[in-house]
């Protein structure tokens, strides 16, 4: 049965949500109802023109310089009010197709996140596109703001299977070179590669004026390492196998993971990149709402 928007926007596939579109709408509308403004407002602003103030406009947008000159109230209009070009960038490497005991693989979880964010942007009449990558960029959909765009994105993602190795850094460099205008790049990946090249690539992306949100998605097992006894682990991308005593290495693994996460958090913070670390055991609506709320608070 082909996967639909409804499939990917159901955060708890089996038990709780009956209609995923209502759920996504609830998230978005509830958020908007509560916050009165898009969370993407106020970044990459560029002044476009003035218009007469009408009751209901946000008084903080009044151009007081014009008032001083004219004694009349005019509102500054920004490009951000009119359009944001967003790109949903999906890691399609083999590791993204992994889950130990969750209902959703990392890839499926990311699709849920992407679907919600895509819906949000289209609802604001912003354009959103899609880029997938593994060792390099693979597929892409140019940004559109029409309502059917989300279906196209999800339809494409539904046909794809994560496989093969990944080269996140190279793919991001490619993306950075591809983008002509400043865009909002929402990167979904497990970042299980050398972190320094990835950060270098992200710096490249930022250097070209793009806004970046990095969703570092890991499986619950990758976060908790709930294994015991002798285990032969196999890397799904390189097929490398390692036999270890899981209990014995657990603390060291978690320490390494913590260092990795902390590295990205610190580097992203200094680069002005939003870093969102999520594990797939967290209901994605909570994860998303939590992130969106924190972002709104900053703006």
């Amino acid at each position: 049965m082909p996967k639909t928007v409804e499939t990917y926007l159901k955060p708890e596939v089996i038990r709780t949500v009956s209609r995923l579109d209502l759920r996504a709408k609830f998230i978005v509308e509830g958020f908007l109802t509560g916050l009165h403004a898009s969370p993407f407002h106020g970044f990459s602003v560029e002044f476009s023109e003035h218009r007469r103030y009408v009751p209901g406009d946000d008084p903080k947008d009044i151009d007081w310089f014009v008032y001083a000159k004219t004694d009349k109230y005019y509102i500054k209009k920004f490009e951000a009010e009119t359009n944001v070009t967003g790109y949903l960038v999906m890691d399609l490497s083999g590791s993204m197709g992994y889950t130990y005991r969750q209902e959703l693989t990392k890839f499926e979880y990311c699709i849920c996140l992407a679907a919600a964010l895509g819906y949000l942007m289209i609802h604001q009449q912003d354009s959103v596109g899609l880029v997938t990558f593994d060792q390099q960029m693979r597929d892409s959909l140019p940004p559109r703001s029409r309502r059917a765009q989300l279906g196209h994105i999800l339809g494409l993602l539904a046909r794809l299977e994560p496989k093969g190795e990944t080269d996140v850094a190279r793919s991001i460099h490619q993306l950075a070179a591809m983008l002509r205008h400043r865009s909002l790049v929402m990167l979904f990946s497990d970042l299980l590669a050398e972190p320094e090249p990835i950060m270098h690539a992200l710096h490249h992306l930022r250097h070209r004026g793009n806004d970046v949100i990095l969703f570092h998605v890991l499986d619950e097992a990758e976060m908790q390492f709930p294994f015991h006894g002798a285990v032969e682990f196999e890397d799904p991308e390189s097929a490398e196998r390692v036999t270890i005593d899981a209990a014995g290495i657990r603390s060291d693994y978690l320490e390494s993971l913590g260092e990795l996460i902390e590295y990205f958090r610190t580097e992203c913070s200094s680069a002005g990149i939003d870093y969102v670390q999520i594990d797939t055991s967290t209901p994605f609506d909570k994860a998303l709402v939590g992130y969106l709320g924190s972002r709104k608070a900053r703006f």
Partner: protein
């Protein structure tokens, strides 16, 4: 001795220490296969983690293996310092039990003597020896060591133990015991020493020999059991010394008694002197009493003076009374005195004045008047000498006699052979040629030279050794004035080396006083003169030497008369020698001991000396002979050796020097002895230590495992 295992077979259980390894290999699970994308993060830490994990695993494996191995070892009950490698702990042993039965073991504590206590412990020990063990019992009497597998005989022997006044030191018994043990075929040898460790029985000096003998014996265990009293104390008659043991009828005797308090307590005592009246079978009567008060460790001297002793033999004792004493044997000491009639001396001189000083030295006029003279002197001329009956005199002294005919020398020789004493005193009238005849040389110690030595400055007597009976008493006077009285002239003598000896020389090394023994008698020759004239050139100043001259004359005459050096008081174990007088011979005699009368004996010879060896019984002895043997009565006394009163025990370091440190076990009671025997035969079990170690390892394994797993689960 070394180490061993009581249950050696259980050591095989140590192979179970391999079980953890086998379990690990057999039960090792095939690892689960899981896909895990974050392998890179594992790889980053894998090498260090692997090392850490391997170390932990090795530690736990080692602990678990050690646990099993230690448990097996503990169950095998290892022992150290035991002979337990001899499988059968009940194999018979060769055991020598040495009992110190010296008189110090009579010390009473808790109503039993030390010897009784040793006997009790010995009796308890016998049934604990393995069956068919060979046992020998030794005591201080020095009986031979005979190992026999006869417990009842050993028991009887122990029961029959009695104190021995003539005790062989324990250190002399040990080598004999070790030699007997070395010859025994038994695998295990044991030597038990029961003693109060009093120093008298443990003289040093045989440590090297004992250790050498012990090292040559395999599986030897030595046990020293101290049965002595803790902090012994004793008041004793430490010594009793009469001023003379043979004295003349008219002389006085001083008995010097030393009373000693040993240990930590002193006390008051009464010292009593008892003496018989000199007749046979007379009971002693109290003749003196003195009180003494002693502090701990103090010795006091008490003197008793006896006069008008009739003789011929007086026997008595001194004892202390008035307090309780845990060691009674040394509260009394015995003594014997012999009283003789005045010694008759025949002085032969050609001029009365030559003999004046010598005669006065022996029998001072005042003493003769008071009838307190020790000597009775008769002065004759050489011509009268030829008619004199010599048998009536104990000593004949030729004083400055020019010469004598050969028949006179023949008579003198016969007289001396029979036991008489002859003194020849030189002078200016003496003609050396008359003394060098063959007949004279049969008597005299050498040929006189015709040259008179005129010494200027004068020479002096040099009493360098005081071993000779004539000079023995001068030792205590440090020679008196002998070395200060000048001698200006003396005769030279060519000694008959075979028959003579120099009693005293001048400080120019030439002989002054020379002795020769002829038959039963003695001859003394003084090469200078004993005459003195104030207005003349005298040969020496000896005659005016005061008491020194008197003592010299007295000692020379006593010696010639056979009185000096006669000893009548001995310690148990010493050989008694009694000299008979001239005319007395030992043929048949009766010996009366403290234990009673012994059957009449016959020596089978005509000896003039009575010898008794190895006297044991303490007390008075009498020797009586009938008229056919000269009709004499002699006596002597035997006392316990003074060393037996020395109760101070030897220290552990002295025992270490005797046996070697750690080569013997020391105990002070039965339980200590049993423990020592157990440790020696079985060895000191290490089981308790192993169990503590086991618990420690178990706790350590648990703690480590929890720590490792807890950190992994954190």
């Amino acid at each position: 001795m070394g180490a061993g295992l009581i249950n050696a077979g259980l050591v095989a259980g140590a192979v179970l220490a391999a079980v953890p390894i086998i379990l690990h290999l057999v039960l090792r699970q095939k690892p689960k296969h899981l896909v895990f994308p974050a392998l890179r993060l594992i790889r980053l830490r894998r090498r260090a983690n692997l090392k850490k994990m391997r170390l932990r695993q090795w530690m736990l494996l080692a602990l678990r293996m050690a646990l099993i191995a230690l448990l097996a070892l503990a169950l095998a009950r290892p022992v150290i310092q035991g002979s337990s490698f001899i499988r059968d702990q009940e194999a018979p042993v060769a055991a020598v039990l040495v009992f110190d039965s010296s008189y110090s073991m009579l010390y009473q504590q808790e109503n039993k003597s030390r010897l009784e206590r040793a006997q009790e412990i010995g009796m308890d020990l016998l049934p604990k020896l393995p069956d068919r063990s060979e046992i020998a019992v030794l005591d201080s009497s020095g009986s031979p060591v005979v190992l026999r597998a006869d417990e009842s005989a050993a028991r009887e022997r122990i029961e029959a133990l009695k104190p021995t006044p003539t005790s062989v030191p324990v250190t002399d018994l040990v080598p004999e015991a070790l030699k007997a043990l070395a010859d025994s075929p038994q695998l295990r040898k044991e030597l038990y020493l029961f003693s109060d460790l009093a120093q008298g029985s443990w003289p040093s000096g045989r440590g090297a020999e004992i250790q050498q003998l012990a090292e040559a014996i395999d599986n030897l265990a030595i046990y020293v059991l101290n049965v002595g009293a803790k902090e012994p104390h004793n008041i004793a008659v430490a010594s009793l010394v009469p001023s003379a043991q043979v004295l003349s009828r008219n002389s006085a005797l001083i008995l010097r008694v030393i009373v000693e308090a040993n240990g930590t307590t002193g006390g008051e005592r009464t010292v009593e002197l008892y003496l018989d009246d000199g007749s046979d079978h007379a009971a002693p009567l109290k003749r003196g009493v003195e009180n003494v008060t002693l502090s701990p460790g103090e010795a006091r001297e008490v003197n008793f003076t006896l006069r008008a002793l009739a003789g011929p033999v007086h026997q008595g004792f001194v004892r202390i009374v008035g307090g309780s004493d845990p060691l009674p044997f040394d509260d009394q000491r015995y003594f014997t005195l012999e009283v003789r009639p005045t010694i008759r001396v025949l002085l032969v001189t050609s001029r009365r004045g030559d003999v004046l000083y010598w005669e006065q030295a022996l029998a001072p006029t005042q003493m003769v008047r008071k009838q307190r003279n020790l000597y009775e002197c008769q002065v004759v001329s050489p011509k009268e000498f030829l008619e004199a009956t010599l048998d009536r005199f104990a000593v004949v002294t030729l004083v400055n006699v020019p010469e004598l005919p050969d028949q006179a020398w023949v008579r003198l020789r016969e007289y001396v052979i029979q036991g008489g004493g002859l003194a020849v005193l030189a002078g200016r009238r003496l003609r050396p040629a008359g003394y060098n005849s063959a007949a004279a040389q049969d008597v005299l110690p050498g040929k006189l030279s015709g040259d008179v030595v005129f010494s200027d400055p004068p020479v002096y007597l040099n009493p360098s050794q005081f071993a000779h009976p004539v000079l023995a008493k001068f030792r205590q006077w440090e020679g008196g004035d002998l070395a200060r009285l000048p001698v200006y002239r003396y005769l030279q003598i060519a000694l008959d080396r075979e028959n003579s000896l120099v009693v005293m020389a001048y400080n120019d090394q030439r002989p002054a006083l020379v002795e020769r023994r002829v038959g039963n008698g003695r001859v003394l020759l003084l090469t200078t003169s004993v005459s003195y004239r104030p207005d003349a050139q005298n040969w020496s100043h000896l005659p005016v030497g005061g008491w020194t001259f008197v003592a010299l004359a007295d000692q020379m005459t006593q010696y010639l008369a056979g009185s000096s050096g006669q000893r009548l008081n001995y310690e148990a174990g010493q050989t008694v020698t009694l000299r008979l007088d001239s005319g007395q011979q030992l043929a048949d005699y009766l010996l009366i001991t403290p234990e009673g009368q012994e059957p009449r004996r016959s020596s089978g010879s005509r000896a003039s000396t009575f010898v008794v060896a190895g006297t044991q019984a303490v007390g008075h002895y009498r020797v009586q002979a009938g008229p056919q043997a000269g009709g004499f009565q002699k006596g002597f006394s035997i006392n316990v050796p003074r060393d037996e009163s020395r109760l101070e025990p030897v220290g552990r370091n002295q025992l270490d020097q005797l046996f070697g440190e750690d080569h013997y076990a020391f105990a002070e009671d039965t339980s200590g002895l049993e423990r020592a025997i157990g440790e020696s035969r079985v060895g000191r079990e290490v089981f308790p230590i192993l169990m503590v170690l086991l618990v420690g390892i178990l706790a350590g394994e648990q703690w480590l495992a929890n720590r490792f797993y807890r950190s992994e689960n954190a």
